[in-house]
């Protein structure tokens, strides 16, 4: 695999137009969020180390997805959304004035809960959609290698290598989600955010996606929101437990290494949650 990656290095966009290929550290500092006058997150701080998988767990409605969407600046696309605090990618605030939001989103990619391949494009075109959309040129010879590389990383290559011209929507749910992962990987992000990527999938597809997460996490920092505690225990190195009591904004109750959160939680609410006493 590593020999392949060095060989394919020359087929990826040249270093001047792409960023450092290693994973990056994401650091959220005192992030608060509002929808209109309704505060939904209250001074959340979290460090997501490079090359590791950080899971955000907690009951529904605690602001995990909102926090995730703040990380890649998708939160502000809602008209009434506001935020405070900083999100630092390798030390630089992505919300700093003068930073292009499109650039941030290239470096911090996102996979959504419902698989959304572009139906008007073939599987091959879906993989390179990120480049086409941002106007990045890829020469034809490099394109094929890039598609194969991304699909291999997503664990989908063997299943679709003979079906590349078919439309993206012709795949099963699990395959579509892996196609979306391949699409996000093709632009070579430093961080990949995943918003409950397996909740709409069957157990077999879920397992495949989790295998993919394990394989790519060395090159890409992953932050995954999940309702499934067993999944969090399986895939993540670190966990952050979100909680929002009735009527109050979400906060992180406890964060730390996965083994510690599940085996020896410090806060009784964390213990209650990971032991299934409330959901």
């Amino acid at each position: 695999m590593s020999a392949q990656s060095t060989m394919l290095d020359e087929f990826l966009p040249p270093p001047s137009t792409r960023l450092d290929r290693s994973a990056a550290e994401l650091d959220a500092r005192s992030v608060s969020a509002w929808f209109g006058s309704n505060r939904v997150l209250d001074r959340v701080s979290l460090t997501m180390p490079a090359g590791q998988v950080t899971a955000l767990i907690g009951p529904s409605g605690c602001g995990k997805s909102t926090f995730l969407r703040i990380l890649n600046r998708m939160h502000e696309s809602v008209p009434s959304a506001k935020l405070a605090g900083e999100v630092c990618l390798n030390g630089t605030d992505v919300y700093a004035p003068g930073t292009r939001v499109t650039e941030t989103r290239r470096r911090i990619g996102m996979v959504f809960q419902k698989p959304n391949p572009f139906p008007a494009m073939s599987i091959a075109d879906n993989v390179t959609a990120g480049l086409k959309l941002t106007g990045t040129k890829v020469s034809r010879s490099h394109r094929g290698a890039l598609i194969e590389h991304s699909l291999r990383r997503a664990g989908l290559w063997d299943e679709v290598k003979n079906r590349l011209p078919e439309p993206g929507s012709a795949l099963s749910g699990g395959q579509q989600q892996r196609l979306c992962i391949a699409r996000s990987l093709a632009v070579d992000p430093d961080v990949l955010l995943m918003d409950e990527p397996c909740s709409a999938l069957d157990p077999t597809s879920t397992r495949r996606v989790e295998e993919t997460i394990a394989e790519i996490s060395k090159d890409v920092t992953i932050v995954i929101v999940t309702h499934n505690m067993q999944q969090a225990a399986r895939v993540s190195h670190r966990c952050a437990f979100f909680l929002a009591a009735l009527g109050t904004p979400g906060q992180i109750v406890e964060a730390g290494a996965t083994e510690q959160i599940f085996g020896n939680p410090r806060d009784p609410r964390t213990a209650d949650y990971v032991n299934g006493r409330f959901g």
């Binding site: 005192s30 608060s32 509002w34 505060r39 209250d42 001074r43 701080s45 979290l46 460090t47 600046r73 502000e76 506001k82 935020l83 405070a84 605090g85 919300y95 004035p97 003068g98 930073t99 292009r100 939001v101 499109t102 650039e103 952050a240 009591a245 009735l246 009527g247 109050t248 904004p249 906060q251 992180i252 109750v253 406890e254 964060a255 730390g256 410090r266 806060d267 009784p268 609410r269």
Partner: protein
Amino acid sequence: MTLSIFGGPRADDTAPLPIVSDDVPRRIDAGWPPSDKIFRHVARTIGLVVLVITGSIGAFLGYQAIPTLRRYGFGFFTESQWQPELDKVGISAVLVGTIEVALIALVIGFPLALLTALYISEYAPPRIKSSLVAMVDLMAAVPSIIYGLWGFFLLQPHAIYLARWLSQNFGWIPIFQVDTDPNAAAWAQSQYTASAFIAGLCVAMMVIPMACAVMRGVFAQAPSGEREAALALGSTRWGMVRAVVLPFGRGGIIGGTMLGLGRALGETIAVLLIISPAFEIKYKILTVGTNTTSALIAARFGEATSAQLAALLTAGFVLFVITLFVNTVAAVLVGRSRSGAATEI
């Protein structure tokens, strides 16, 4: 490393967490590239240009109407003659004719549209359902001049018999009276042609597909849970339709009908082909001669001087206001009803 805000576990975990933050939202500049901003400006400009153009129709007509109304005053609405050379112009006869033709079209078209919509949505075999929907849409797309041809050449010769039958048997109702003797052996056929009744029949063909399409769309959205509940209680199909589909579709039925009414008020070419213009306020719909606003405009504009043109534009403005009102009411009714709210836009 992050700890909870208050450090350490709390004994009482049901009390709400205190909010100590005093931060305020920050200003964010998304930093879209210039091409993105240009795109948004272009789209906004196009939208406003279209708004100006379409909005200016009403404004333009209204502006032209001012001198005419100032000149003729309220008499414009009460005068029935249209003789510009004698400076007697008025749209009362024309308005009455417009409403008559539209109402006749509604009276005939509404039940037929409702029955067709019910048939397609509830009674048609599933295999041909989509073909029937296509046929209704096709019926809406047929140009009105073709319906005018059909009405004038095919329908009229047969419809005058129906008109005569109506005047024979229901002549005691004032609107069905005719000026000649319907029971005469050699009855005057020409007295029954070119009437508001026949024009209304023809316009009904244009009202039906429009109303039927709206009604059918609404019936298709009647919740299947309620349908099944009715059937599970042992109801027949008609019982289920009466209990579930029709009440649910009330807004769509009325809205679709009003849309058809709006169309009927503005129909020009079919009316023009059928009627023989007459400028009098006439309530006898079966007899020859009537006029509608749009037919008046189409027929008279060519020989109009600028003052007469202004009068025609005023008539057009009145028609515009009426049609706009009817269509707005229709949209509100459909939107506020239960069936309209269920419509996904």
